[in-house]
Symmetry: C2
């Protein structure tokens, strides 16, 4: 029945690219259901089960250990049911008024730890640092591919956030297009810069630090806050205080601090909201741009607390029953040891 090839298609009205991915129908967990992920299921991401996964692209390993065997700390593998595929030339085509291209790109899974652990919040700070360094390493590598324009790094944690395996992992989709949410941010930030000559993210950080009410935590290099126009209860952003548009340019020193900040933030969310399902998305500038004075990479975290009614993603008009000031106060006052 699936005679339609995997491809990228552009909505002609708003310019939104989507991935039409019939091959992903073969995935085990496809249907909307509410089951918890089974805790005693076979874990293909466990150290020792490397045979059960696709061969690794990158792994941080103990010296002397062999590829695709035990002895790793963080491991990156191709997604078994990829939405985009690395093989083939990029082929952009028109179809009457429509635009499409073949689904070229990389869809990778970052297995975050060798042992069974579902939540990144419970990994060691060193472990989290290596995950964020793996993101950077993959982007530096994939950026070499002239077909690829943008990297989306994201995590679905918990069944209700879209995870299909109960072992901490995140994903990269690196593709020839810029996702619409990133494009809108780039456009908005560029307009602001053209008008005021300042980075909108810098203005925002300045105002958030001065106002204090939406701040969750602040370190030397990072600010964690609940944004003014939060779409979801306890939506939380992590942003570097120093300007940087491209995540892949992050330094070892910043990763050191980011690991600590990430762990603290996730621990606060876990404690405050009783280990909620959540997603995060790392927003970063396209590969084919020079360092941008108007854009800053950042991480957006969304706990999945309320049912998002379909009309909200159908209209982009979100109703958020928890004010960000309320959420930030709660998170700020949640003590972690």
């Amino acid at each position: 029945m699936n005679t339609v090839p995997q491809e990228l298609r552009k909505d002609p009205i708003v310019g939104r690219w989507v991935i039409i991915a019939p091959d992903r129908m073969a995935r085990p967990q496809n249907v909307l259901d509410c089951a918890e992920l089974p805790e005693d299921a076979y874990d293909p991401f466990l150290e020792g089960n490397e045979d059960a996964t696709t061969p690794e692209i990158l792994a941080y390993r103990d010296s002397g250990s062999a590829a695709n065997g035990p002895g790793w700390r963080v491991r990156v593998i191709p997604n078994k049911f990829p939405a985009v595929k690395v093989e083939g030339q990029l082929d952009k085509r028109g179809d009457g008024m429509y635009d499409k291209m073949n689904a070229v790109g990389a869809h990778e899974v970052v297995v975050e730890c060798p042992h069974r652990e579902s939540n990144m919040s419970r990994l060691s700070v060193d472990n989290i640092r290596e995950v964020f360094w793996a993101y950077r390493d993959r982007l530096v590598d994939l950026k070499q591919d002239p077909r690829l324009v943008h990297a989306l790094i994201f995590k679905n944690s918990g069944a209700l956030a879209g995870a299909s395996l109960d072992h901490a992992h995140s994903q990269l989709i690196v593709s020839p297009i810029v996702p619409i949410a990133i494009k809108e941010e780039l456009d908005g930030a560029e307009n602001f810069y053209r008008y005021r000559g300042r980075c909108i993210f810098a203005d925002m950080i300045q105002q958030e630090i001065a106002t204090e009410s939406r701040v969750v935590l602040e370190t030397e290099q990072f600010l964690v806050f609940c944004p003014f126009a939060s779409r979801f209860p306890f939506e939380t952003w992590i942003i570097p205080k120093q300007h940087s548009s491209h995540y892949e340019n992050i330094t070892r020193g910043s990763i050191e601090e980011l690991g600590t900040v990430m762990k603290k933030t996730l621990q606060k969310l876990e404690l405050a909201l009783d280990d909620p399902p959540y997603n995060y998305v790392l927003h970063t500038a396209p590969f084919d741009t020079q360092p941008l004075p108007h854009y800053r990479w950042h991480i957006e975290i969304f706990p999945r607390l309320n049912r998002v009614a379909g009309f909200e993603w159908g209209s982009g008009f979100y109703i958020n029953p928890v004010a960000p000031e309320t959420a930030a106060k709660f998170l700020r006052e949640t003590e972690i040891d």
Copy 2:
């Protein structure tokens, strides 16, 4: 704890308005869960239970029946937990770099039938026509209010689509802002018109009818199709073949046909997908515009078949495992009597 007032806030980067609605925390069904809606629960929308609801704003009634008593066919009431409220002056304010306003507007519920029925697909065509006429009547009325700029009409059907009651109903949120999804459509359609001098929706309809592969059904006045860049499996649009930007200008004659088309479309979805939860959103031009040559009202229907992973609404980058051609063929071939 909720000292933050209900208000509209604008994301400064992308220009997305959200409703911060702490009062809605009081709603019975707030937490993400997977329960089916209880079938034997008390039904406040049932004929005879009018005392259980807020007083009606509009009702199509048998002659001689009294307001807020039995004898109605379709009934419109204020939402008990409104995201926006009709009282008060519109008060737009800045807050440093941010923009906000008080949450002025109308949030209404259209109770679609007096008897217990969960799915609009099983209402009579006449009944569905009156629902769509009620939308029109409410828009004509609310458009008089100079504070209000846009009407969002939507339906959450089934618990997994965000419904909190198992009695067919839809909602209107009429507010002082244009939701971002509508704004993006307006902008995209206007750009197309400026460049080509044609309505993008007309071009799309023409190509869809010529291509046939994404058409679900076609009548004299309406086209039902699965859009080229569908975000979701079985995403289905209903669009008038004659140009019209503002839904509230619809005629009795078009409503006649729309009722039939809506019932057929929902029946096909119900049969093909085993009575799925679904949402629809009616997209229409803002109140404060004259008839627009570049925009056309339409209805977008989204069955809730797959888990939408958080990264998808965090990035706007959707992965759709069912090609629209596959979905349209299946719906086209689903026979209804």
